[in-house]
Symmetry: C2
Subunit: 172 residues, 2 copies
C-alpha cells in the first residue's frame, strides 16, 4: 500500500469539487475505496446520482442543509457540520477507505462551523495509507501548512459573468 | 437542452484532468452522455478501468502513444494526434454527446501536433448544446479567447518536490 498524502484544492475558480470527484474515480479504477463527505452542501448534485447508480466503491454523504449559508451560519448549520466532522473522523481513523474527500471543508472552516484545531488533530492521526483530499475556497494557513500538495484554482474567465446560471449536469 | 459552453482547465497545478473527469461523472448523473478523448496520453491510467467497468454512459479514447514526448514530437506522435483530432471533430459535430472532454489538447497544441486554427474551426462549428472541456497546461491565447470559462490550476505546493513518485490510483 502506498503512503497517503494530504491534497488541497482551493481558490475562486471552477473545478475544485470536480477534481476531487475525478480523484475518487481514478482511485476506484485502481481497486481502491473512496469516501466523499460534503460539508455545507445538502442540495442535490448530479454526482450523487452518478455515484449511487454506477459506483458502489464510492460512498458519498452530505453534511449540509438544503440551502447555502447566506450571511452567517445558524445553529442548525453548526450542528450538521459538527456531526459530519465526527462521522468523518471515525471514517478516516478506521482506515477502511484509501481516498477520503472532505469537500468544502475550507468553507466550513471559513464559517467557523468547527475549529481548525479539531481538523488538524484528525489529519495528524490519519492512518499512513489514507489519502485526504480537501476542497473549498479560502483554505486557511494551518490547512495549507499541513498539506503535501496545494493547487489554487484561479478564475481567469467565468461564464457567470455573462449571466449564465448554474446548470444541471454541469454545475449541479 | 441547455446551451453548452467551452471550458478550459490549464496551469501547472494538479487537478486538470481529474476536474474534467469529475465533470463527466456529474454529466452522466444528470442523464447526459460524455466523451473523453485524451491527446498525447497513451499510457494506462486507472480512470480507464473505472470508466470501462462501471460507467457505460462515458466513452473514453486515447490518441497518444505509450510514452510521453520527451524533447520534440516524432512523426508517429503527429499522426496519432491528427487522427484523434479528426475523430473528435466527427464526434463533436455529430451532436451525440453532451459533454466532450479534449484532455491535454493544450499540450498537443504546445507541441504543434496540429494547428490551433483547425481546433478553432471545430469549436466554432460545435452544436449549440455541446459542452466542450479542454485541459492541459500552456493553453494558447486563441483557446483562452474562444473559451467561456477558464480556470488556471496553480501549483502552490507539490509533493513531487518531496520526491514522491506518481502513484497508481492517485496520479495514474
Amino acid at each position: 500500500m502506498s503512503k497517503g498524502y494530504i491534497q488541497v484544492y482551493t481558490g475562486n475558480g471552477k473545478g475544485k469539487t470536480t477534481a476531487a470527484l475525478g480523484l475518487a474515480i481514478r482511485a476506484i479504477g485502481a481497486g481502491k475505496k473512496a469516501f466523499i463527505g460534503q460539508f455545507v452542501k445538502g442540495m442535490h448534485y448530479s454526482e450523487l446520482d452518478a455515484i449511487k447508480t454506477h459506483l458502489n466503491n464510492i460512498e458519498i454523504k452530505q453534511y449540509g442543509l438544503d440551502c447555502f449559508i447566506v450571511n452567517k451560519p445558524e445553529e442548525k448549520d453548526i450542528i450538521a457540520a459538527k456531526k459530519g466532522l465526527d462521522e468523518m473522523k471515525n471514517i478516516i481513523l478506521s482506515g477502511k477507505f484509501d481516498v477520503i474527500i472532505m469537500d468544502e471543508l475550507n468553507i466550513a472552516l471559513y464559517y467557523k462551523l468547527f475549529d481548525v484545531k479539531e481538523v488538524l488533530d484528525i489529519l495528524k492521526r490519519k492512518p499512513a495509507h489514507v489519502e485526504i483530499v480537501i476542497t473549498g475556497r479560502y483554505a486557511p494557513e494551518p490547512i495549507i501548512d499541513i498539506a503535501d500538495l496545494v493547487t489554487e484554482m484561479k478564475e481567469i474567465k467565468h461564464y457567470y459573468q455573462q449571466g449564465v446560471q448554474a446548470r444541471k449536469g454541469i454545475e449541479l
